[in-house]
């Protein structure tokens, strides 16, 4: 009996010691990189807003952050779902960039969608977060897909990939990713609806 208790205690002690050691290492690494991870996420959003607004994105991350704080007004400031981008003229925005979510095949998709200041036509779109299948749904991040909303009015319907439709209410779907493409289409249409309803 005593031997069994001793054996058990030894096993439990070993596991506890191993767990504590490993968890400490991971926690330390996680804390050490937390700032970096947060900065990366913020930078990615800033770059996306910049691209949608039609600016050329500089390689230097500091320059991106500087541009963002100088020319973008988040709304509401605490947890923004819209960004007003100003040019040299600070009285009227040059572009309006909305942050919206959609439900994709594997999880939520977060996108930033641009509008001209009159809220009449779309600008480009960027996807800042998604878990879609690489090679299929994940191709929504490809340039041809994100560029195609520019200059269109919506509401959108999908046409087969490769159509390259110039029609103001059509966007090409991604072949093999119907669920993802439809989710993006619905997100764009819902945003358009929302804008029309709130517009004076």
């Amino acid at each position: 009996m005593n031997a069994r208790v001793k054996d058990g205690a030894r096993a439990a002690g070993f596991m506890a010691a191993l767990s504590i050691t490993l968890i400490t290492c991971i926690a330390a690494l996680s804390l050490a990189t937390a700032g970096r991870v947060k900065r990366n996420a913020a930078l990615f959003l800033q770059k996306a807003v910049m691209e949608v607004a039609g600016e050329t994105v500089p390689d230097n991350p500091d320059a991106v952050a500087e541009w963002f704080s100088a020319s973008v007004k988040p709304d509401p400031p605490e947890s923004p779902n819209m960004y007003r981008v100003y040019g040299d003229d600070k009285s009227i925005p040059r572009a309006l960039v909305y942050k919206r979510d959609a439900q994709g095949l594997w999880g939520s998709i977060t996108a930033v969608v641009g509008f001209d200041p009159m809220r009449q036509t779309f600008l480009e779109t960027r996807f800042i977060e998604h878990n879609e299948t690489p090679g299929l749904g994940a191709r929504i991040s490809e340039e041809w897909f994100t560029r195609q909303t520019a200059g269109k009015t919506g509401p959108f319907k999908l046409v087969p990939e490769g159509t390259g439709s110039p029609a103001p209410t059509e966007i090409d779907a991604v072949t093999g990713a119907t669920v993802t493409s439809s989710a993006v289409r619905d997100m764009l249409n819902k945003l358009l609806q929302e804008i029309k309803e709130t517009q004076p």
């Binding site: 054996d7 030894r10 096993a11 070993f14 596991m15 191993l18 767990s19 490993l22 290492c25 991971i26 690494l29 996680s30 990189t33 970096r36 991870v37 990366n40 996420a41 990615f44 977060e129 878990n131 299948t133 690489p134 090679g135 299929l136 994940a138 072949t175 093999g176």
Partner: protein, 206 residues
């Protein structure tokens, strides 16, 4: 003497004892990540890192690990190493981390790591265990990279994002979908076992 044995182990893990096409381990990730070459490469580097370090650390600890809880200890160490890879990718290579998404975490479930830990790390000195871990990782990696090249080329008409096949090429979408992984892997195993490895086994039997 040990050097010769280690070298033999190294060669076996790349060829006659290859984890993917001989032991048929780690098939889950072989099928899942091989549709884009870039993701495959990162996955392979992650796996080499995890197998080699888990083998090394388990071998160093093998005298102290009580045998009845050895699997718990193995999983704990492997999972920690994978989380380290994930955190480093998130912090230093956010783009790649974004693309790989959940796959990095799935390195934990790769049977190769557990298999090598059980078969080699717990019974061998650290040097042998480390060499075994690295060579298993490389054996896994080159198979995956070959499969990824095939799938990306046929499925998207290019490799590493650069288009190689002309505009007249129609992409085989199925190649980047899950069934494509099964087809390419099956053909690969067929070629290797039927044409490359069979003469060797026949000679051994004779």
């Amino acid at each position: 003497m040990t050097a010769i044995r280690d070298w033999k182990l190294f060669k076996e893990n790349l060829g006659t004892q290859n984890p993917v096409f001989v032991q048929v381990l780690g098939i889950c990730s072989t099928l899942a990540v091989t549709n884009v070459l870039k993701n495959t490469l990162v996955m392979c580097l992650g796996l080499i890192f995890v197998t080699s370090l888990s083998n090394l650390s388990l071998s160093l600890l093998r005298a102290w690990i009580p045998s009845r809880i050895r699997m718990m200890a193995e999983v704990l160490i492997i999972a920690s190493l994978v989380i380290i890879v994930d955190i480093c990718l998130k912090a230093y290579y956010p783009e790649i981390s974004r693309q790989l998404g959940p796959y990095v975490g799935l390195i934990i479930t790769n049977c190769i790591i557990m298999g090598r830990a059980e078969a080699v790390a717990l019974t061998s000195p650290p040097r042998t265990a480390l060499i075994d871990g690295i060579s298993s990782g490389i054996g896994y990696s080159y198979v995956l990279l070959l499969i990824a090249c095939c799938r990306e080329l046929l499925g998207t008409g290019g490799i590493w994002g650069a288009r190689l096949l002309g505009q007249s090429w129609t992409n085989w979408s199925i190649m980047v979908m899950a069934p494509g992984g099964f087809f390419v892997l099956a053909v690969f195993i067929w070629i290797v076992k039927g044409w490359i490895m069979r003469p060797a086994t026949e000679k051994a039997e004779a």
